[in-house]
């Protein structure tokens, strides 16, 4: 059912291609003379994302048929997935902030629900909690930003923002939107939720947390890049992008959970896109944006397949015999090659396009960025081949006698979408060419020089070599094992998490203090009431039943009145 719907939506999306770029808008509700419109557009940029989403959706749903067998969970799963897909498509075609925000929040929430999909796994619930906390920080920032923009300019439309006068409010709003984008795209300092999100079902990871949802942030910044350029704020994307890319790459290298490696890799890819945007090279960013969707979805599907085949074993070092299923190994290989950036797989073009934008060596900063990017490329080719090589090991070499290697055969529904994706990954660059002609973006078009190609190839080959030495020939085994020195050096996961923990416990401490304060005020009010009762008790003492006291009181009262009058 969902599959049919998704295919229909794909067809609709494709048919929209033939429409000219048009903006449709209607007033959602109005207050006084001001209307709050919902508007959608089918501009080229939007269509690109829409096609990616619409294209991947049926594949994911097909994959899910094989992945998710229990019928009791299917209803919930497809419900949430469909809402997500709808929200993602709405996001893709939104032409103003309010529309975008509606989709944005729905993305966050469906992501939250899907991460916590395995309700029996406490870790999944913790991950969902972390994700939603990060996401609503972004949502709040976003809401403040768009309302600020509205109040300043009385508009929600992206396009009309290009022509407005620059005000301090716009700076604030744009910074807040950047924060929102960072939360959604898991950039520093909001990185950790994405890795934890891998507790969700694999199709969810393949769909939301690699190819579509996490890229909402990037997409938003892509759309708004001209405004950032106008405000000279683009450099923040370079700074945060570089930091995030390093975190992503190093963690991916030290991680040993099959999906988390890919998650950190996604973080790195997204960071690369931000860096490209930071150089105002939107074509490059878009290229990586498109190809990454395919190869990362492919990789996740493969990861899910390994785990599925390996009796849900999630540890890279406990997975074996990945070559046994030829189809699976083939998809893994394609994905790996693409991610590493081997010519002529699509990943290569994406990576090189991003690298080349930093390659103008005009200042010390750009040189530094270029060097870092090259190092990151090296690391990524190491970790992804590590990801490929380690499960290739034969089980018998290790603990064959203690391990129950129950190598299930993979259902076709899990393989076919992966293979389709693999085709896209191979042909990705070719598909991109006609799209480029449609896109109208600022910044230089992608041009890949021979120098870049050679350098990239060298780096990748070096990476493959290192990975081969370390993980196939198993030199330096103590260094590279699961919790070896490598892990110790490169994993920043714990430190970032403890930073979060400090933050949360700080908030908790504030809450505790305020709660105490609350209690005290309550007590004060209570005792002030009690004080009145005590006065009553004292006054009651006047009433001792003695008539002479009453007479005395009468006389005293009379006297008091007389004195008062005399005064």
């Amino acid at each position: 059912m969902s599959l049919v719907a998704s295919i229909i939506s794909l067809l609709i999306a494709v048919s929209l291609l033939w429409n000219t770029q048009s903006v449709q808008s209607f007033v959602w509700f109005s207050v006084g003379n001001f209307g709050i419109p919902i508007s959608t557009t089918t501009g080229a940029l939007n269509m690109t994302l829409l096609l990616i989403v619409a294209g991947i959706t049926p594949l994911i749903f097909t994959y899910s048929i094989g992945y998710l067998k229990a019928p009791s969970e299917q209803g919930r799963y497809y419900f949430e997935m469909c809402i997500f897909a709808a929200a993602m498509m709405l996001f893709a075609i939104s032409a103003n902030f309010i529309t975008l925000f509606i989709a944005w929040e729905m993305l966050g929430l469906t992501s939250y629900l899907l991460i916590g999909f395995w309700q029996h796994k406490p870790k999944a619930q913790v991950a969902a909690r972390k994700a939603i906390t990060t996401i609503i920080i972004g949502d709040t920032a976003m809401l403040i930003a768009i309302l600020l923009i509205w109040v300043t300019y009385q508009t929600f439309e992206f396009t009309s923002l290009l022509y407005v006068a620059i005000t301090p409010q716009l700076y604030v709003a744009m910074l807040l939107i950047a924060v929102a984008a960072f939360t959604k795209s898991a950039q520093f300092p909001f990185t950790e939720w994405l890795a934890d999100a891998m507790e969700g079902p694999t199709p969810v990871s393949a769909f939301l947390h690699s190819s579509t949802m996490v890229k909402a942030g990037v997409f938003l910044i892509l759309v708004l890049a001209p405004i950032y350029a106008e405000l000279n704020l683009l450099y923040i994307f370079i700074i945060f992008g570089v930091v995030s890319a390093l975190i992503g790459a190093t963690n991916a290298l030290s991680e040993h959970h099959i999906k988390r490696i890919l998650a950190y890799s996604t973080m790195e890819d997204l960071a690369l896109m931000f860096i490209a945007i930071g150089f105002n090279a939107l074509y490059a960013a878009m290229l990586l944006f498109v190809v990454q969707a395919f190869y990362k979805a492919l990789l996740f599907m493969s990861a899910g397949s390994i785990m599925h085949a390996g009796d849900d074993e999630e540890d890279l070092f406990e997975s074996f015999n990945s070559t046994k299923s030829k189809g699976l190994f083939f998809t893994m290989l394609i994905g790996t090659l693409s991610l590493a950036g081997v010519f002529p797989f699509s990943g290569f073009f994406g990576k090189v396009a991003v690298d080349s934008v930093a390659a103008n060596f005009s200042s010390i900063q750009t040189i530094a960025v270029y060097i870092i990017l090259s190092i990151i490329d090296l690391i990524s080719s190491i970790y992804i081949f590590r990801w490929l090589f380690v499960p290739m090991r034969k089980a018998s070499l290790d603990k064959a006698f203690t391990l129950n290697v129950n190598y299930r055969t993979l259902p076709k529904s899990m393989l076919i979408p992966a293979i389709i994706l693999a085709v896209f990954v191979v042909l990705g660059a070719i598909i991109y060419v006609p799209l480029t002609s449609l896109l109208v973006l600022s910044g230089p078009p992608v041009s890949i020089s021979l120098f870049d190609t050679i350098l990239e190839t060298v780096i990748v080959l070096a990476g493959i070599g290192v990975a081969y030495v370390l993980y196939v020939q198993r030199k330096l085994d103590g260094f590279t094992e699961k919790h070896g020195l490598l892990h110790g050096i490169f994993s920043s996961e714990n430190s970032i998490n403890s930073f979060y923990l400090y933050f949360v416990s700080f908030v908790d401490l504030v809450a505790k203090g305020i709660w105490q304060f609350d209690h005290y005020i309550d007590q004060i009010l209570y005792y002030s009431g009690k004080g009145l009762v005590e006065i009553g008790n004292a006054a009651r003492k006047l009433q001792n039943g003695q008539v002479n006291l009453y007479v005395a009181a009468f006389m005293l009262g009379l006297l008091a009145l007389v004195i008062l009058y005399a005064m």
């Binding site: 006054a539 006291l549 009453y550 009379l558 009145l561 007389v562 008062l564 009058y565």
Partner: protein, 469 residues
């Protein structure tokens, strides 16, 4: 229809009042309690109808030089007749020796009407005396353990009457005529400190009668010590008669001294409200609780009088009516429960499971006392506070009043809370007369609260005619 000489109605009222005395005299020998009750109730009903008719037709006539029937007095005669009929029925149900009670009761009634109709200071003094002493006898003769209360009332009221007489004596040299309207225009009063002393003495005496702090220390003891029906009489009617006397003295005789007596009344009012409410907070005996509550209500009434405008008096009259019905209804229930030996707050726990109607009625009456709309008590308080705000200089008096009305919610709500909480206990049944009295009080509280127009216009008429004297 041939016109009847309207003055006959005045005579008829006085005659009916005097006829009340015949009822006990005729019934005591044979202990015809029921006959006595019916007869006196019918007489009171006749008085009520006559007074109402007189008021509607606006009769203004002086009888024998000492009684003056005009809308103000007719209003109160009617009101008291109605309330007395209620107390009469209550007493019939509970008082051990009803015909003997009826004797004292009749004298007290005559005293009340005399005060209401009074045309001279002397008549007022007489009426008050005639009202208070039989009340003390009523308490005394109802049982051995009531004697203490009776003696207290007796001694203290003697002092109050003494103060009033002394005031009269101070006035007499300057104004040989003691008719209310005849004293007023006397110009020799101005700047005379003896007259001021007289005013203060009257204030103290009236403070005693209306239970204003600090002249009110007797109130809780006597209210608690007296049998419930007499308590209802004391709190519901005697005190209101005292207010009538107070109004007659201050607003007719001493109207020109308003700058002197107004601050006195302000002080009395504030002190009384605070004393009544704050001490009521810690009471555990329900009867004492209502005693203090009625003290505080007297404080509210005093606000309107302290304001001393026509509007203020009108407001006070409405509040008097409101409190009269509320307190008679409340004491009817208290009396009934006392007869079942339930006295303290703890005894009242779970009342609603024992008799739904009683709990409901008491709750409504107490909410009305606390000033919750749309009940009559709210209308009274609203008008009283409004009158204070209206003068603008006495805004603080309204603030004090509202603060007090806020304090009072605690003890009312606490009792309501008790009544609606607690375990289920055996059912209790209410006597028919009590039931009727409670129904009437409740109906008056609710209906006059929802539609107060009639009452307000009557009060307005009464206050206008009082000031017009």
């Amino acid at each position: 229809m041939a016109t009847i000489d309207v003055t006959y109605i005045a005579y008829a009222i006085i005659a009916a009042t005097m006829a009340l005395i015949i009822v006990p005299l005729a019934t005591i020998p044979r202990k015809l309690s029921f006959v006595a009750m019916v007869a006196s109730t019918v007489l009171l009903a006749i008085i009520l109808i006559l007074a109402a008719y007189a008021m509607i037709s606006g009769i203004d006539v002086t009888v024998l030089g000492i009684f003056h029937l005009y809308p103000f007095s007719e209003f109160f005669i009617g009101l008291f007749a109605f309330a007395l009929a209620l107390v009469n029925m209550l007493s019939y149900e509970y008082y051990p020796n009803f015909t003997r009670f009826e004797l004292f009761f009749s004298f007290a009634i005559i005293g009340m009407f005399v005060v209401a109709m009074a045309n001279s200071l002397l008549t007022i003094l007489l009426g008050l005396e005639l009202m208070t002493l039989p009340t003390a006898f009523m308490i005394m003769t109802s049982g051995r353990h009531h004697i203490e209360a009776a003696v207290k009332l007796f001694i203290l009221s003697a002092i109050a009457i003494g103060a009033l007489s002394f005031a009269l004596a101070l006035i007499f040299p300057y104004s040989p005529e003691l008719g209310l309207t005849q004293i007023a225009p006397n110009t020799t009063f101005t700047g005379n400190y003896l007259i001021s002393l007289a005013i203060i003495l009257v204030g103290a005496a009236m403070g005693f009668e209306v239970a204003a702090f600090p002249f009110n220390l007797w109130v809780p003891d006597v209210y608690q010590g007296a049998p419930g029906n007499v308590t209802a009489l004391l709190a519901g009617i005697n005190k209101k008669v005292a207010f009538v006397a107070l109004m007659e003295i201050f607003f007719v005789v001493f109207l020109q001294f308003q700058p002197i007596f107004s601050p006195v009344l302000v002080l009395l009012s504030i002190a009384t409200m605070f004393y009544g409410n704050v001490v009521a907070l810690v009471q555990t005996n329900v009867k004492r609780l209502f005693a203090y509550s009625s003290i505080s209500q007297a404080g509210y009434i005093l606000i309107g009088l302290a304001v001393a405008t026509q509007f203020g008096i009108e407001a006070s009259i409405v509040q008097i009516v409101a409190h009269l019905f509320m307190i008679i209804g409340a004491f009817a229930i208290v009396l009934w429960l006392e007869s079942k030996n339930l006295r303290t707050l703890d005894d009242y726990t779970g009342l609603s499971s024992r008799n739904k109607f009683a709990a409901f009625a008491l709750a409504i009456l107490m909410l009305s006392m606390a000033g919750v709309p749309p009940l009559l008590g709210f209308i009274g308080k609203f008008l009283v506070f409004s009158s204070a705000i209206d003068t603008q200089s006495l805004l603080y008096l309204a603030v004090f009043g509202i603060v007090n009305s806020f304090i009072s919610i605690y003890y009312y709500a606490r009792l309501i809370d008790r009544m609606y909480g607690g375990q289920k206990k055996e059912l209790l049944f209410m006597g028919n007369y009590t039931y009727a009295v409670v129904i009437v009080a409740l109906a008056a509280t609710i209906l006059l609260g929802i539609y107060p127009n009639l009452l307000i216009s009557a009060a307005s008429l009464a206050s206008k005619t009082l000031l017009a004297l």
